[in-house]
């Protein structure tokens, strides 16, 4: 009896599977209006050749008439919801572009952007299902401005295998430097290693025997800083005299770590943590310890520094972008454009000055640049355009920061920083922009 029931069920199951198979496969056209396209560029070997690299390539999925569908995944709720402001900036960019007639493309048309947002709560366990839904059900052309290192990592194989562009990742993890293996990813931020290198270069100039106390977030983000610092101080007289890891998920603060580091004899304090933990760390620094403090660029927004309890005065950072809250930058045409058009697209004053929405605005601008430079409106063509940029700029990058890319050799778009010090809510330049073109990958430590 037992055996027969199993056998019957198995037979039934197999039978129905075969019937189902015979009924024809899945309706491929249901999720998208895609057409099979072949490689477009022929004059010079493009970085991505979909004919060789992709099976079942859908180069124009998400493009219908003069509309282009874009997806993005971000934490709208949960403890990282502060980053939702990046997406608000991205959305404002597209709204503003749509109102102005759309994003121009090589085919002479202007495309209206339809942005579909999903909330993964910064949880990499939730990201894959949402991204797959965006690609397979919503049928997006590309993902733009996805937030988070681990979240982006969780869909890296899927997106690269399916040849879906993931443009302007809101993370500077050194992992995104491997464009030869993962050509469909391009970061919208500078590499954390390049940033760390900028700190050390400046230290060598002003304090060649610096003793560093390092507080780093104990995940991919903070470890990128740690490894790059260790590599950059090799062969110099700068030493690392104390280091403390901080697990942002453990539910504790950095107070004990800061107290410990303040006793290490260091004259330089590097804060390699993000989120609200970073400004809180500044507030924990005892008045008896007055090191030269370097903070992560992810912490340098007005919104974040407002939480430092006034201890943000005098801190240093490596700055690649204009700061809409800095009076010295407010007359820059890029900032003026962002402030007026962003306001028209629904951003409020706090979001405009906050320094987070402006990053998302830049990501929208990066995608627009890819679409405009692409030879055709096609996924591979857009990626190839983004991986062959020459002396250009986008978003709110500082005017001196040059953008050059080459998929095979130089996958990082943003590689220039200036060193600034915080004074009364504004930034004072201490060292001008240095562009480390093509060197970002070499700064990444192990």
């Amino acid at each position: 009896m037992k055996k027969t029931s199993i056998q019957v069920s198995a037979a039934l199951l197999l039978g129905f599977a075969l019937i189902g198979g015979a009924c024809g496969g899945r309706d491929d056209s249901s999720s998208s209006e895609s057409t099979e396209t072949t490689a477009s560029d022929s004059t010079e070997a493009a970085f991505i050749d979909p004919a060789a690299d992709c099976t079942d390539y859908k180069g124009t999925q998400g493009v219908t008439g003069d509309t282009i569908k874009i997806g993005t995944v971000r934490p709208e709720s949960g403890s990282y919801a502060i980053y939702d402001n990046v997406t608000k900036g991205l959305e404002a960019y597209f709204k503003s572009a749509n109102a102005a007639g759309g994003l121009p493309a090589a085919d002479g048309k202007k495309y209206q952007v339809e942005l579909i947002k999903k909330n993964d709560e910064y949880d990499p366990a939730k990201t894959p299902a949402l991204v797959k839904q965006l690609v397979e059900e919503d049928g997006v052309f590309a993902l733009v401005g996805n937030i988070g290192t681990e979240t982006n990592k969780s869909v890296r194989d899927y997106l690269n295998e399916n040849c879906v562009p993931n443009i302007a990742l809101a993370t500077g993890s050194t992992q995104w430097g491997d464009a030869n293996a993962y050509p469909w990813y391009i970061s919208g931020l500078p590499s954390y290693a390049t940033e760390a290198n900028a700190w050390i270069s400046y230290l060598e100039e002003v304090n060649p025997t610096a003793k560093i106390a390092l507080l780093y977030q104990d995940d991919d983000f903070g470890q990128s800083y740690k490894a790059a610092i260790e590599k950059a101080i090799e062969g110099t007289k700068i030493t690392l005299v104390g280091e403390e890891g901080f697990n942002p998920l453990a539910g504790s603060t950095t107070e004990a770590s800061v107290a410990k580091l303040s006793q290490s004899g260091a004259d330089t304090f590097i804060v390699g943590v993000g989120g609200t933990a970073c400004p809180l760390t500044l507030s924990f620094v005892p008045t008896t310890w007055t090191p030269m403090t370097m903070i992560s660029v992810t912490c340098a927004s007005k919104t974040a520094l407002a939480l430092a309890g006034g201890k943000d005065q005098g801190v240093y950072m490596a700055q690649p972008t204009l700061d809409p809250a800095d009076p010295a930058d407010q007359t820059n045409p890029k900032v003026v454009e962002f402030a007026t058009q962003g306001a028209a697209a629904g951003l409020d004053e706090a979001q405009i000055q906050g320094g987070i929405a402006s990053v998302g605005w830049g990501f929208g601008s990066m995608f627009a640049m890819g679409l405009e430079n692409a030879t055709t409106v096609d996924r591979a063509a857009v990626m190839n355009a983004l991986y062959s940029l020459q002396d250009t700029t986008f978003g709110l990058l500082r005017d001196e920061v040059t953008v050059n890319t080459d998929g095979a050799k130089d996958p990082w778009a943003v590689e220039g920083f200036r060193i600034v010090q915080r004074e009364n809510g504004a930034w004072v330049e201490k060292a001008p922009v240095t562009n480390e073109e093509g060197k970002s990958n070499s700064f990444a430590g192990q």
Binding site: A10, A17, G25, R26, P124, Q133, E150
Partner: protein, 369 residues
């Protein structure tokens, strides 16, 4: 122990009765066979996830529904199964389903370990012990991040050829059948395993061992005096239940290809319990129905709700649960049985012939499938 409801009609079934009994099953099989061809691959993968949840709920049902031991820690056992599979495949190159078998064994041992206190404590106190296990599990994963990958996740990989070189790539179940895509193949493999596990559980419950499980649940003293080794039964049931949950976890690992501690929080344990209760504790098919109900709720219905309401999904689920428990305390299967009993009672009274349904309330947990 409650007796199976028998009516005079069951011994000499009319063809229409037989059709009524078989038709739902045929319909179910047809639906199950068509599903993977009707939806995009991410939906099929979601349904595969529901199956893994159903398997875990089936395991919990043996323990809670039939043996009367409450566990709020099956999410941790599910997680142990998943991580065992992931680590065995990535670190030791164990074949995919070999890792599933190993996970079942590991979870059996873990279940016995967790079940040991169950010999002394029961009811709410046992629930608290298992609750502690469920709460500590994600922290445990963070603590041993050298093996588990911590919050950065565990990528389950094997060496594969990609873009011209051998790289560690995510595992995949390659479809050997020409007409089936990988996700569809995975669906049928998972469905096969799920069906086999449910049938084996049904057979177990209908066997002598199954009757002793129920006897221990209903009255330990009576069971003891009837010669049932109560301690043995309780502890082996815990192990068996854990092993089944581990198989569910192992399949979850094969489905996802990567594991994060945030998947195995106390919330998962509660959802497995919800699947059992919603479907109908102490009915074989109940946990599967409950798992599908939960899957539909969290992966389909919640996604359709406006963004603003989505964070309140737990509240909405809670309200739905309260309503369900008020309307059908025996879960979906229990409610169905009540309706069936009422319907056949009305029919028999209308015909004024044949015995009316007797025995315990059809909504209560019964030892029948």
């Amino acid at each position: 122990m409650s007796a199976t409801v028998t009516t005079g009609a069951s011994s000499r079934r009319s063809p229409s009765d037989w059709a009524l009994k078989v038709a739902p099953w045929v319909l179910l099989f047809v639906i199950l066979a068509i599903v993977p061809f009707q939806f995009p691959s991410f939906r099929v993968e979601q349904i595969c996830f529901w199956m893994t949840l159903a398997i875990a709920a089936c395991g919990l049902n043996l323990l809670t529904g039939y043996n009367g031991q409450i566990s709020v820690g099956h999410g941790a056992l599910f997680g142990i199964g998943a991580y065992t599979t992931g680590i065995l495949i990535t670190e030791f190159g164990v074949p995919l389903f070999g890792a599933t078998v190993a996970s079942a064994v590991v979870c059996f041992a873990a279940g016995i370990l967790i079940g040991l206190p169950a010999l002394r404590i029961k009811g709410l106190y046992l629930a608290l012990v298992t609750l502690a296990v469920a709460t500590l599990f994600p922290l445990f994963l963070e603590q041993f991040s050298a093996i588990t990958g911590g919050s950065g996740g565990l990528q389950i990989t094997s060496p594969q050829l990609y873009r011209g070189e051998m790289r560690e790539r995510p595992i995949r179940l390659e479809s050997p059948v020409a007409g089936l895509e990988n996700d569809q193949w995975k669906y049928f493999v998972f469905l096969g395993i799920t069906v086999v596990i449910f049938i084996l559980s049904r057979n177990l419950i209908k066997s002598r061992v199954g009757r002793s499980l129920v006897a221990v649940r209903d009255n330990e003293v009576a069971a003891e005096s009837s010669g049932i080794p109560v301690s043995q039964v309780k502890i082996v049931t815990f192990g068996l239940s854990a092993a089944i949950a581990g198989i569910g976890g192992s399949l979850f690992a094969l489905d996802q290809g990567q594991l994060y501690p945030s998947s195995f929080t106390i919330v998962l344990s509660i959802y497995i319990l919800v699947a059992v209760v919603v479907g109908g504790a102490a009915s074989i098919i109940g946990p599967a129905i409950g798992a599908v109900f939960y899957g539909l709720f969290s992966d389909v219905i919640v996604q359709q709700m406006p963004d603003r309401i989505q964070p309140a999904r737990a509240v909405i689920l809670g309200v739905l649960l309260i309503l369900l428990m008020l309307l059908a305390p025996g879960g979906i299967v229990g409610g169905f049985r009540t309706l069936q009993a009422k319907w056949s009672a009305r029919r028999s009274s209308a015909h004024n012939s044949g015995p009316s349904v007797t025995g315990p309330s059809a909504t209560g947990p019964e030892a029948t499938a």
